[in-house]
């Protein structure tokens, strides 16, 4: 009697191997797609005028002679502008405006989510739409009224003026995100808090807000990204006293585009957002409300 030799390890079907190869191939391609611009900016930031005109080179010392000219120009080096002050200004304006927008927007959103407002034919949904509708308008439409208002208030070319304008621009985002988030929190939770002795204000701070952290993080991210990246209002509402980072980066440009300085400034301008993304990532996990109402 003969025995058929047993296959020691069944081979994976070809289609499965192909699927895996395609999957990892795509992941590699996408990673390269995302990482490549950063790598390009990083290498360029360490080049000088000669380095950037010699084609695509990646390896310092071997392919090009590294230079710190680009980075030095960010601190007022030759042909550069000191961006430390604008950088700090941007941080203040972005954080200040985001904090105020999130605070006011969250309170407004809770009201719109939980209470019924009626004025003529306006209802809650209309009010929510009004908040977000100003984002539909092109910025140029808003620029002139903002300019006139800040001038009347004596706040042109000031951090406070910029914060005020950004609050007006960012709060609709906060309201929009948070209304949606609060609507997803069961009203039963509010009512149970009432039954347990919380008035509506205590309910908001003790019960609803702790369960709204993922929403706050999302709204906060939107506000920070918009506030940090805005160029238009920072450019039109400031002159010489107050400058924000995006404006000062543009100011680096001269008759010869300083790619090394622009690359270095691009890297430092996105650094806070990348850092923020890593910090808040853990708050964005799903399932925060699991166990609230079953």
């Amino acid at each position: 009697m003969t025995h058929q030799p047993l296959d020691p390890e069944p081979r994976a079907p070809v289609s499965r191997t192909l699927k895996l190869a395609l999957k990892y191939g795509f992941i590699l391609f996408w990673s390269a797609f995302v990482v490549f611009p950063f790598l390009w900016a990083l290498t360029t930031s360490f080049k000088d005028a000669n380095g950037v005109t010699n084609g695509a080179t990646w390896l310092p010392w071997l392919q090009y002679q590294p230079s710190t000219q680009g980075w030095a120009s960010l601190f007022g080096g030759p042909g550069g502008t000191n961006i430390v002050r604008p950088y700090l200004n941007s941080i203040w304006v972005t954080l200040g405006a985001s904090a105020v927008s999130i605070t006011l927007g969250t309170l407004a959103a809770y009201g719109l989510s939980r209470f019924t407002f009626r004025f003529l034919f306006f209802r809650n949904a209309d009010i929510t739409f009004f908040f977000i509708s100003q984002r539909i308008m092109p910025p140029i439409v808003l620029a002139i009224p903002f300019f006139l208002m800040l001038r009347a208030l004596g706040l042109l070319d000031s951090l406070a003026g910029l914060i005020l304008v950004y609050v007006a621009l960012l709060m609709p985002i906060a309201v929009w995100v948070m209304v949606d988030f609060f609507n997803s929190i069961p009203r039963g939770l509010d009512e149970m808090a009432w039954m347990d002795g919380c008035d509506p204000v205590t309910t908001f701070f003790r019960v609803i807000l702790p369960n709204a952290v993922p929403g706050l993080v999302v709204a906060g991210m939107f506000c920070v990204i918009f506030g940090w990246n805005d160029f238009f209002f920072a450019f039109t509402l400031t002159f010489t006293q107050t400058q924000l980072l995006p404006v000062s980066i543009v100011a680096l440009n001269s008759s010869v585009t300083p790619w090394w300085a622009l690359s270095a400034s691009a890297l430092v301008s996105i650094a806070p957002l990348v850092l923020l993304a890593f910090v808040v990532e853990r708050f964005l996990s799903k399932g925060g409300l699991a166990g609230a109402v079953r």
């Binding site: 009512e191 039954m195 347990d196 002795g197 369960n211 409300l289 699991a290 609230a292 109402v293």
Partner: protein, 355 residues
Amino acid sequence: MLEIRDLTHAEDGVTHLDHVSARLAPGTLTTILGRTGAGKTSLLRTIAGLLVPDSGEVSLDGKSWSRLPPWKRPTAMVTQQFINYPHLSTLDNVAFPLVRKGARRAAARESARAMLDRVGLSAMVGRRPSELSGGQQQRVAIARALVKQAPVLLLDEPFVNLDYKLREDLREELVDMLRNESGLIVLYASTEPREALSLGDRILLMAEGRLLDDGEPQQVFGAPATIEAARVISDPPINILPLTVGEHVAAGPFGAQDAGDLTRDLAPGEYRLGLRAADLRPGGRHVARVVLSEVSGSETVTHLDLAGFPLVMHEKSVVTHPPGAEIAVDANLARGFIYGADGTLLRREAPHGQD
């Protein structure tokens, strides 16, 4: 004494409470029995202050609650949904109402720990609600309601979303726990007549926002005041047959000889006869067709068609009646209830016990 006076509430043209009044004494467990949409939840929510009535008021020991918001009312509530605070541990969930009342956190946690021990969750104090099973989550909600020691406890179908066995177990546990709470006014909403009859000291029978009947379970079940009340409290459904009293007596498909003394001295006219499913039995001279037969536990409920009249028969044994089969049925009409044209009870031959 909790007094509910003439409560009315309507929303979008639908009446949820229609002049509901009741007085509830301390130390009693009152079951509010009614089908879905009967107004049970509305009544509980109105007592809790979560719903503002169009008219009427709730008062405790003579003090009106009309101006008291929910967070100031001495009530505790457990709802159908298992509502807990997802950001707090089981222990802090139960301690929460005590902390809100001003207790020190350590003392509140100690009381919460003792209460969790009573509901059998002492091993789960550090877990979040999302890490508990449905039954455990509802135990946490019950513990949170009981730890407050509020004089009024509102239970809105607390076990309806649990499986059958767990529901039975938790109900028994709850009754045991409530026995130790003297002077508590408990209102328990339910859609299940059996639950209401076994649980409560008293039943408020509701339909379409109206209070149909109010009394002790034996009284409400034994002599349903109206056809509507009979329908709500009967499970399996009660048979309602047209009853003609004249030269001949006819109760639906059943004739005079079946009615016996039931119709004696009754003025000629049209009436309606309520006959419990348990008062129909197999055998006899009437042949009915089986429409549907359901076995539940050790009992069988069979839906029949007898000469065009739909009937329900309840047998306390497991019997197989294939759909479409023809079986002989007999009715004990002497145990029926006679209702007038307006649907109110006119005659009950003998007091009936609970099935």
